[in-house]
């Protein structure tokens, strides 16, 4: 496995994260006993205190995910599932990252929240961040992806451009029927 020009198969997790890669796990990995602010501060590796976080970037994140600002000083464990998901993504992008790995962000979320999330990812993508998205909701993935790989039982059964997949209904039917 390599990232850029580096071979990273044997690297440890913190070293890989240190390459400017952020990860949003499927279980969101929120620290429930910590406040929303503390969750964000943890991910901001350059900042020792909340006041040292990049204010402009925070404002941008707040505009994408207003719940993060609203519940800034609240324990993260008290947030709803959707709010936690927003916090998990907000935390991953608190500092600019080259690659954002996101595991099933739409799972269990209301459609309105999914739209917010898609907007946020689209803005991030526009800033040059690469996003590796694992997603079961094809309609979500379609609106963001350039490339797509469809997996079934741990194997890639199709790889190509998202545009080609999105335009080919028959292919979609046959591929997405696989795992169902």
């Amino acid at each position: 496995m390599s990232f850029g020009t580096r071979e990273i198969s044997a690297w440890r997790t913190p070293e890989i994260a240190g390459l400017n890669i952020a990860y949003v796990p499927e279980n969101m990995g929120i620290f429930s006993d910590l406040s929303v602010k503390e969750n964000m501060l943890l991910a901001a590796r350059q900042a020792k205190r909340a006041s040292q976080m990049d204010e402009a970037r925070l404002q941008w994140i707040f505009s994408l995910f207003p719940a993060v600002e609203k519940f800034w000083n609240h324990p993260a464990g008290k947030l709803s599932g959707g709010q936690k998901q927003m916090l998990a993504v907000a935390r991953a992008i608190v500092e600019p990252r080259e690659l954002l790995i996101v595991d099933e962000p739409s799972k269990g979320l209301a459609p309105a929240i999914i739209n917010n999330m898609i907007d946020a990812f689209a803005q991030l993508k526009a800033t040059g961040t690469t996003i590796l998205l694992v997603e079961q909701n094809i309609n979500f993935a379609k609106r963001l992806g350039d490339h797509v790989a469809v997996m079934d039982n741990g194997r890639v059964v199709h790889a190509g451009t998202m545009k080609a997949l999105a335009e080919d209904d028959a292919l979609q039917q046959s591929l997405l029927g696989l795992a169902l």
Partner: protein, 327 residues
């Protein structure tokens, strides 16, 4: 949703226990003496247990050898006191304190250094294997005890209080030993410093987060093992400090004292909720009070009383008074 919804019930247990036994003891002055003694003992036990609970919380390491740092700290203090006889023997309390503080600092440094070696050679090879951790850390403690015997001899040694710290203050009819007040003050200082570090600094934030979910802390780019080594060393140094205070509380030290205190500190961290420093403080105060009250009321059940206390609390909150989330 409230901003801060502090769970005050466990905290209320401490005054509740104290008030419940008041009618049983009868005399208010005896009750006050016992309560201060219990709080002093509780604060010392807390100092010892605080490191252990974080070590478990962060890396799931069961360190049954924590007691060796207690004994080492206490024996180092006997040596430092021996070198500073003029100061400990003085009637002036400031000179006594000048002797006590270097003893504490040297004890902490030596215990911390041993902690570093203990983590490297004994704990690190058995990460993630609880049974082996129990066996090898207990083995480490036995070796530590034997090394103490090699250096200081196998016999009990006196660790007399410096002159100015002996004796009692009279509050009404109640006699309150001066040293116990000092122990409460030092305990509160350590707690305040610990609480400040954990709640106000980035390192503290990392420790609290690591206790909840260490894998996520790693995927945010932090090396949790380095953090763990730091916590282990500080925890060992605090156990050394607790050992000095415990030795002065008992006014003697034995190579086996660590093993004796070990039982108490495990009760404390289980009552508190593994990984919770706030819980460890509550647990330590409850254990200290309980030991002193039952020692007076029913000496025969004194040892059993703390086990009973732990069972009662676990029936109420099976994960301890302040369970750590995500564990």
């Amino acid at each position: 949703m409230k901003n801060t919804d502090f769970d005050w019930k466990p905290l209320a247990l401490v005054p509740l226990l104290a008030l419940l036994v008041l009618p049983l003891i009868g005399s208010a002055s005896t009750w006050l003496t016992l309560t201060v003694a219990g709080l002093a003992m509780g604060m010392i036990v807390f100092i010892i247990a605080s490191g252990l609970t974080l070590v478990f919380g962060l890396m799931d390491v069961l360190n049954f050898g924590h007691g060796v740092f207690i004994a080492l700290g206490a024996f180092v203090a006997t040596t430092v006191f021996g070198l500073m006889g003029d100061w400990t023997g003085s009637q002036e309390i400031w000179r006594n304190l000048v002797a006590v503080f270097p003893a504490m600092l040297v004890a902490m440094a030596v215990s911390g250094a041993l902690g570093l070696a203990f983590e490297r050679f004994i704990v690190r090879p058995v990460y993630g294997q609880h049974l082996k951790q129990i066996l090898i850390t207990m083995g480490g403690m036995i070796i530590g005890e034997e090394l103490i015997k090699v250096i200081w001899g196998p016999a009990q040694m006196a660790l007399p209080l410096p002159e100015g710290l002996r004796g009692s203050l009279l509050v009404g009819d109640a006699a309150i030993e001066k040293y116990r007040l000092l122990a409460v003050v030092v305990g509160l200082l350590v707690f305040a410093l610990l609480a400040w570090t954990l709640s106000r600094t980035k390192i503290g934030l990392l420790i609290r987060a690591g206790v909840q979910d260490r894998e996520m802390v790693e995927s945010l780019g932090y090396r949790i093992k380095r953090l763990f080594i730091g916590v282990f060393v500080v925890g060992s140094a605090l156990a050394g400090l607790g050992g000095v205070m415990w030795g002065l509380y008992q006014q003697n030290v034995t190579p086996q004292m660590g093993a004796q205190v070990n039982v108490l500190i495990f009760i404390v961290i289980i009552i508190g909720g593994l990984g919770s420093t706030g819980g460890a403080l509550i647990g330590a105060l409850l254990v200290g009070l309980m030991a002193n009250y039952t020692g007076f009321l029913l000496p025969k059940v004194a040892l059993f009383s703390n086990i009973a206390l732990m069972v009662a609390i676990l029936l109420w909150r099976p994960q301890g008074v302040y369970p750590v989330a995500n564990r």
